[in-house]
């Protein structure tokens, strides 16, 4: 006679697993990674590999050696953090910068809170911001120049043409610089290399993941089709940025950046599609998610327009991450409650 299992119902499980979800996120990030490799060749590969490897090794080391527990690197969440971190760094980041980033992301932002699911802030973004305030020179402005060695098999002609156009700064940084000099928006937008087509397909100035809006949108669509995420957070961020920036632009179009430019800039799409939608650090219910997205949108435009930094998506997401426990107080619509009101 067989030994019978007698655990309570349900007796079957769906096909979902953490590892599968993380795998889907990695697939969704591939277009952005490939665009980066297409343009920057070896340096992009170097960036992604070092970042992923470092994140996985840090997680394994902390769990196995320091905490003497079973390691959970098999769930692939460290790989996701690694890819996201890489996409948030300049392509030519030196290896030690990536290592510090990986340590901050995994060691400080994730494991010290209790590992996957326990962290309050998005690990890759914590790392990006720590690096941004600690190594401003390496993380802004001319740092986005790819070094000559990076062109081993990247598409150098395209890359250098774009870089020449915006003198190496990120488009947002360039615009902010010019505005400060008193140049009007209309003149700035006439600069070659700032066209929408370029933003859509290949905008050279930015971190590795910000190069192409189309690549990011492809990944986003994949996540939606696979039902990994719901669109509420991403859409409410984009809509808020568009509307808020639109109001400013309508107020004075010579001083404020136009809303389409705001939305298409890689940093926002990367943040809205892949960083803000991180399960662990975003609200559970649709209502909470929409408010979360609106918050990120407003803070992003405020920082970009009035703040000291040209880009504010990372800060905006981290600030809103802190509100998630509060936003989770928004309860879902109860099946039975609605009936009672009638």
């Amino acid at each position: 006679m067989n030994t019978l299992i007698v655990s309570p119902s349900p007796h079957v499980h769906g096909k979902e697993s953490t590892r599968k979800i993380m795998g889907d996120v990695i697939i969704a990030l591939l277009p952005a990674v490939l665009v980066s490799i297409w343009f920057f060749g070896l340096s992009a590969i170097h960036l992604v590999c070092v970042s992923v490897l470092a994140c996985v090794v840090f997680e394994y080391f902390i769990q196995k050696v320091l905490m003497k527990k079973r390691s959970t690197v098999g769930d692939l969440s460290a790989v996701v953090t690694g890819v996201l971190l890489a996409l948030n760094l300049p392509v030519c980041s030196p290896w030690w910068l990536i290592l510090i980033g990986a340590f901050v992301a995994i060691g400080i932002a994730k494991m010290s809170f209790g590992g996957l699911g326990q962290n309050l802030f998005n690990p890759a973004l914590v790392a990006r911001v720590v690096l941004l305030v600690s190594f401003p020179v390496l993380m802004t402005g001319t740092a986005f120049h790819a070094p000559e060695t990076g062109y081993l098999f990247g598409n150098s002609d395209l890359a250098s043409a774009a870089l020449d156009a915006t003198s190496g700064a990120t488009p947002l940084g360039f615009v902010k610089e010019q505005l400060a000099k008193g140049v009007s928006m209309q003149e700035i937008m006439a600069t070659p290399g700032l066209s929408y087509t370029q933003l859509l397909f290949a905008n050279m100035g930015g971190s590795a993941g910000e190069l192409s809006a189309v690549a990011l949108i492809l990944g986003f669509i994949y996540l939606l089709c696979r039902r990994v995420i719901k669109p509420w957070i991403s859409l409410s961020i984009l809509a808020t940025v568009f509307v808020f920036a639109g109001i400013l632009y309508l107020g004075d179009s010579s001083k404020y950046v136009d809303p389409v430019f705001h939305v298409l800039n890689g940093g926002l799409l990367l943040g809205a599609f892949f960083m803000a939608t991180d399960y662990v650090t975003s609200p559970m219910t649709a209502k909470g998610q929409v408010i979360f997205g609106i918050g990120i949108g407003v803070i992003t435009v405020l920082i970009r327009t009035f703040g000291a930094y040209p880009e504010g998506v990372s800060f905006a997401i981290l600030i809103m991450n802190a509100t998630v426990p509060l936003l989770n107080k928004f309860q879902p619509k109860r099946f039975a409650e609605e009936a009672q009101k009638k």
């Binding site: 067989n2 030994t3 655990s7 119902s9 499980h13 326990q118 099946f335």
Partner: protein, 443 residues
Amino acid sequence: MRTFRMGGVHPADKKISKDAKIEKLPIPKIVYISMAQHLGAPAAPCVAVGDKVKVGQIIGNPTGFVSAPVHSSVSGTVKAIGMVNDLAKRPVNTVTIEVEGDEWMEDIDRSEEIVREIKLDKKEIVDRIKACGVVGLGGATFPTNVKLSPPPTATPTCVIINGAECEPYLTSDYRVMMEMPEQVLIGGTILMKALGVDKYYVGIEENKPEAIKKLSDLAPKYPGVEIVPLKKKYPQGGEKQLIDAVIRKRVPSQGLPVDTGAVVQNVGTAFAVYEAVQKNKPLFEGIMTVTGDCSKAQRNFLHRVGTPLSFIMDYCGGVPEDASKIISGGPMMGKAISNINAPTLKGTSSILYMTEAQTKRKEESNCIRCGKCVGACPMGLEPYLLNKLGKAGMMDELEEHHVYDCIECGCCSFTCPAFIPLLDTIRQSKAAVMKIMRSRPKK
């Protein structure tokens, strides 16, 4: 196409035994008829050891308003009255009968002929259903006559016959609709008359197109009936979900389904009502499925209540080598069998064999806060939170977050990518919270 509007999951269908016609299972040599075959107070045995009984003779009297009589499913001699273990090895008061021949009570109409004309009036119907021990066969085995006697505060407006059969594998309701479609519709008409309403619906999931067609073809002959095809989604057959799907009304929290005007009865129950009212036949037989991917047999049976499960298993060629879990009911809400010698009950719907690979729980990992359980919960609860509150024993917070609304459908555990057995904790918390709520003085 209609469906319920909140949550739900899509487990694989697996209706392997759907084309197997209902066979009469042989009568075993000995049957064990439980006195607790229904929700509510168990029946009290009204026979003595040594008594001769006939098929359909009453052997247990109801002991309260929510209770039901129990009838003998065989003819023979009462051998023992006492505790016999049920399928979870809990002792239950049981009448054991040694079978001799197959002699039925004379007042049962055993002809095959379909009786269409309903002669009894409203009150007689309810009394007959009560006397025949008819209980809900959709899973909860709630005494049917109680559902047909709604409190004066509620006004019934329609009957909904539940042909959703949303649990994977199970095919007994499907076979009833395919082989006894007219009886089901007559049963529905009787239920309508019993409640004094003039409308009834039969909700059937779209994965059973033949049943939808069969009943739709017969429907014009039965005024008041509307066949409602439903989009396939689990737990469509849940009472609250089915009402929402069919008439777009929601049962209030802690309210009765009839507060929406709807009274829900399973197709199996409608058939039992037909047999009770038109044929004067008490409920002592049931229709069940023997199935599973690893099962040698894929069959549907008409069994006598009290037949040992092991008898049915042996009749079907024994327990498959690789079966690791045997379930009575569907894979989402059924009960795992620990005692294969336990007898069948009125509400037994299946013997389902599952392999270790299909059913063994995976090791749980950290909650990644994906919110999939919140999205899957058909009652709009937050299973991840209830699980956490339950583990911390925070009873007030559990109540605040409506743990008592949980219908234990298992969608949360089914969908959790971290393999957290959410329902295990929530089920316990719900019981604890409801105990506290009941102990409060009534206002």
